[in-house]
Amino acid sequence: MSRLLPVLGNIAVLVAGLAALFGLPAFAETYVIINATIFASFAILALSLALIWGYAGILCFGQAAFFGLGGYTYAVAAINFGDTTGAAALAVALPALFAALLGYFMFWGRISDVYLGVITLTVSLILYRFVNQTAGEQWNIGEAPLGGFNGIPSTPILNWPGRPGEQLAPENIFSLAAGLLILVYFGCKALLATRFGRVVVAIRENEARVALLGYDTRRYKLAIFVVGGAVAGLSGLMFANSVFVSPTMFSLPVSGQIIIWVIIGGLGTLIGPVIGCILMQVLTNWLGTLNQVPGFGWVDPNLVLGVILMVFVLLVPKGLMALAADAVRWVVRNLPFPRRGKVPEGRKGDVRSASATGSHLESVHTSPFRRFAPPSPSGGRKSSA
C-alpha cells in the first residue's frame, strides 16, 4: 500500500494528462483549444520554477527572462530560417545557455538567496526595458524586426519538421503543448529520482552539509538552474505558438505570476504548481469577462488575485496540495467504520507506521521526498545557514 500510493498518483496524473491531450481537440471549439494551449505553455513555465525553487531552493524572481528569451529566440530564428524546427531547438538552447552564464556568476560568486532573487529580477527587468525600446529598423535581426513594445505579431507558427510552409493546426499545437507538459512533468520526476536530483534536494535542505560530504554544490545548483532555464525557454516557445511574442513576456507581472502559481499549488511539489497555474488562469479569464456583467464593472482581476495570494500566504502557506492531503487524512481519520490495522485504545500506537502513512498521503505527488518548506511571509525559502 505504501509503495502503491505514489504510483497511483503518477497514474492519475498521466490519465488526466492524456485525457486532456486527446479529449480536448476532439470536442472543444478552437478558441477553447487556443486558451488551453496557453494554459499548457504556462503550466510548463510553472514546472520550471517548481523545479528550481521547490526542489533546489533557488528562488529565481526572474524566470520570465528565460520564458521571454525562448519566445523571442524562436520568433527571430523562425523568421530568418524559414523552417521552424531549428528555431524550436534554439528556443530551448539559448535560454539554457543564458541561464548557464548567469548561474555561473551567481553560484561561483556565492550570492546569497535574497540577492539571487534581486539579481534575477533585475535581469528580467533589464531585458523587458531593452526589448521594449527595439522599435525601428536598426533593431532588425536579419529579416526579423524586434518591434519594440508591439512585439513580433508575425511570429511564425511551427511547421511539420522538414516541411516548411506546412503549418501545424491549432489542435496540433495544443497536442504538442500538452504532450510536452506531460513529458516535462515526468521528466522532472525522473530527474529528481536520480542521484543528481537527490543531491539537489539535499542542497535545499542544508547546503553546508552537502559541501562537507564532498559534493561541489555550485555545480549542482548551476545544472538544475540551467534545466529550469531550458524548460522556461520551452514554455516560451509554446506560448509564442499560441499567441505571439511581445515584451510583456519579460515583464514583472509574468515573473510574479509564476511565483504565485507555485505558492498556491504548493512549494515542493510538481503537480501543485501545474494545478495552481491552470486554476489561476481560468480564474483570471473568468474575472476578465466579469466586468461585462452589469454591477460587476468594478472588479479588477489583479486585485482579486492579490487577495487570493495573501489568503494563501497567511492561511494555506503549504498550498493546495498539502491542503488536499490534509483533507484526505481528515476524512480517513473520521470514517465511521473501523479501519483495518487500527490500533486499539490503551496500546501505544506504532509511531513509525503512523507517521509513515501520513507522509505517504502527503507525498502522493511529491516523490521522492516529502517536504513542504512553508514559504515565509516574505516569500523567501528556508535559510540553510
Partner: protein, 239 residues
C-alpha cells in the same frame, strides 16, 4: 616517526579584533585518537571550521598528509578524506534517516555499492530501526547518531567529532564510545568534548585549548589532574 596525517602551522583565525584561534601548531599521527578539550570560547569549533574549509584561516597553514588545504573549499577538503560531525547536528531535516546516510555514501560509491554502504553505516551506528523516520522529527541524541552515520559511511581517513555525546542517553553514549574505539582501529580521530567522564573512557592523548591557543598537551591521566587545566575550566586565570 611517520608523517602526520594532519598538521597545522601557526594557524590563526581573526574576526575583526577578536582572535579566536591564535597561532596553533597541532599535529596528529595516522590512526591517532586525540581529544580536544577547553572551556567555552576556547576556539575548538573555530579550529575545526578552519580545518574543514568552512572558514578561511587568517594566517598559518593546514597540511593534510603534507598537502596544504588551508583556504580550500569544503567539498575539496572532504574529498581528501576528511569527515566532520559539527557541534549542532548538520543534517537534512526533510529527508529520511536512510536518505541522509545514502547521500554521504553515494558521494564515494556509485549505485548498488552506495546502498550496501548505507546499510553498513546504519548498522554500525545502531540506527537501522529508525531508518525510515524523518530526521526533523528525531530527538537531539538520535540526530547526533544520524550525523555520525553520515560521517562514517564514506569511510574518511580523518574524522572530526565536535561534541558527539551531547544530548545522548547513557545507552547511546556507550554505543558511541564503542564506535569511536572501533573507528580508531582504521581512522584518525579528533574528538571535542566537555564531558570528562566521556574523555576518560576514550582518550589517550589530550590537547587543551584556552583562549585560542594550545595550553597543554599530554597523556589523559596527567592532563585531568593538571592544575592549569582545572583553573581554566573553573574560570581562574591560567598560571
Amino acid at each position: 616517526m611517520t608523517a602526520p596525517i594532519l598538521q597545522t602551522r601557526g594557524l590563526t583565525m581573526r574576526f575583526g579584533g577578536v582572535i579566536a584561534v591564535n597561532g596553533v601548531d597541532f599535529s596528529l599521527q595516522e590512526a591517532e585518537l586525540r581529544c580536544l578539550i577547553g572551556p567555552n570560547g576556547a576556539g575548538k569549533s573555530t579550529f575545526f571550521k578552519c580545518l574543514t574549509g568552512q572558514l578561511r584561516p587568517s594566517h598559518g597553514d593546514v597540511l593534510f598528509r603534507g598537502h596544504s588545504i588551508a583556504g580550500s573549499q569544503s567539498h575539496a577538503i572532504a574529498r581528501h578524506g576528511v569527515g566532520i560531525k559539527t557541534q549542532v547536528p548538520s543534517v537534512f531535516d526533510g529527508l529520511s534517516v536512510r536518505e541522509n546516510v545514502w547521500l554521504a555514501a553515494a558521494r564515494v560509491n556509485p549505485g548498488r555499492l552506495a546502498d550496501t554502504m548505507t546499510d553498513a553505516a546504519l548498522q554500525r551506528v545502531g540506527i537501522g530501526a529508525i531508518a525510515g523516520r524523518m530526521v526533523g522529527q528525531l530527538a537531539h541524541g538520535q540526530r547526533q547518531l544520524v550525523e555520525l552515520a553520515m560521517v562514517v559511511a564514506p569511510e574518511p581517513d580523518l574524522i572530526l567529532l565536535d561534541e558527539p555525546a551531547a544530548g545522548m542517553t547513557d545507552d547511546e553514549v556507550d554505543r558511541l564510545v564503542d564506535l569511536i574505539k572501533e573507528l580508531n582501529k582504521r581512522h584518525a580521530l579528533v574528538v571535542v568534548e566537555h564531558d570528562m567522564q566521556f574523555i576518560r573512557r576514550v582518550a589517550r592523548t589530550v590537547t587543551v585549548f584556552h583562549q585560542g591557543a594550545i595550553l597543554v598537551e599530554g597523556d589523559v591521566a596527567d592532563i585531568l589532574v593538571d592544575a592549569r587545566v582545572r583553573d581554566v575550566y573553573l574560570g581562574r586565570q591560567a598560571a
